[in-house]
C-alpha cells in the first residue's frame, strides 16, 4: 500500500495532517499500538521539520506486511551539518516554530529514537530527504 501527502512549507495549520492520516490507516490495519506510536511520532516530527524549514515536500508512506517505509523529500535550504543537527539541543528554528512548541533541537534525535532505520541525505540549497523504516515483525531487519 502506498500513500502520498504533499506538504506546504510554513503552513502550520496543516502540520501533522499526514501523520494523523497515517495513524488512522495503521489503526485500521490493526498494527500494534506501540508500533503505531513510534511510527507516527517519527513521521510527525519530520513533517513539522518540513513545514518549519522547507518550501514544500512530499511524504510517501509504503506499508507492507513486514515494514512501514516513509520517505520525506523536501525542497529547501538543506542541512549543512547533519551530525550537528542530530545532536539534542541544536536548532536553527525560527521564533514562529518555537511558538508552536517546537524548535528545541529534539526533532531529529527523537526521530532516530523512534525509527528502526533512519537515513538522511541533504543537498545545500536543494533539499533534504529523510527515510524512516519501522519493522512490523520483531527481529525483522536486524
Amino acid at each position: 500500500m502506498l500513500f502520498e501527502f504533499k506538504i506546504e512549507g510554513g503552513d502550520f495549520s496543516r502540520a501533522g495532517s499526514a501523520a494523523s492520516e497515517t495513524k488512522k490507516i495503521l489503526k485500521q490495519l490493526n498494527v500494534d499500538p506501540l508500533l503505531i506510536k513510534r511510527i507516527v511520532i517519527a513521521l510527525y516530527e519530520a513533517e513539522v521539520n518540513i513545514v518549519a524549514h522547507a518550501y514544500q515536500g512530499l511524504i510517501t508512506v509504503e506499508i507492507d506486511t513486514e515494514q512501514v517505509f516513509i520517505r520525506m523529500e523536501d525542497e529547501g535550504p538543506g542541512i549543512p551539518d547533519i551530525d550537528k543537527a542530530m545532536q539534542e539541543g541544536y536548532s536553527t528554528a525560527a521564533p514562529k516554530v518555537r511558538e508552536m512548541g517546537f524548535g528545541a533541537g529534539m526533532g531529529l534525535p527523537n526521530i532516530k529514537k523512534n525509527a528502526d532505520k533512519l537515513n538522511i541525505y541533504s543537498d545545500i540549497n536543494k533539499g533534504t530527504t529523510v527515510e524512516i523504516t519501522t519493522y512490523l515483525k520483531q527481529g525483522y531487519g536486524t
Binding site: 495549520s13 502540520a15 501533522g16 494523523s20 511520532i41 508552536m100 512548541g101 529534539m106 527523537n110
Partner: protein, 114 residues
C-alpha cells in the same frame, strides 16, 4: 483516580469529551514544549499545558494522550475544540498556573511520568 476527581481538584471546566469523566488516569506530564511531550513513551497520560494551538492537539494525538488540561486561564478557540472532538481528546480549562495545577494534582496522587 478518575477524571471527575481531577476536574474538581483543580476547579476545572470541561470543554469537550465529557464521556471520559469516569475514566481512570494515573500519570501526568506538564510542558509547553511539544518536543518534550513527544519523547514520553507511556500512553494515556494527562497533558498539562498552557500552549493552545493546533500542534498541541496534534502532539497529543500522536502521543496517545486522551486528556489535555489547559492552564493559566487560556481560552480554547472553536477550531481547537473541533479538532479535539475529531480526535476524541478530552479538553479541560483551568484558571490556575501550571505550577499550582501540578502541585494540586501531585498532592492528590497523580504520578509523574518520570
Amino acid at each position: 483516580m478518575n477524571l471527575q476527581d481531577i476536574l474538581l481538584a483543580i476547579n476545572g471546566r470541561i470543554i469537550c469529551g465529557e464521556n471520559r469523566l469516569s475514566e481512570e488516569f494515573n500519570y501526568a506530564f506538564a510542558s509547553d514544549l511539544m518536543s518534550d511531550v513527544l519523547t514520553i513513551q507511556i500512553a494515556n497520560f494527562i497533558l498539562i499545558t498552557g500552549l493552545v494551538n493546533v500542534q498541541t492537539l496534534r502532539s497529543a494525538e500522536m502521543a496517545d494522550i486522551n486528556c489535555v488540561i489547559i492552564v493559566r486561564n487560556k481560552k480554547t478557540p472553536s477550531d481547537f475544540i473541533e479538532l479535539a472532538k475529531q480526535n476524541n481528546i478530552t479538553l479541560i480549562e483551568c484558571s490556575y498556573s501550571m505550577f499550582k495545577t501540578c502541585g494540586i494534582l501531585y498532592n492528590i496522587g497523580l504520578k509523574a511520568v518520570y
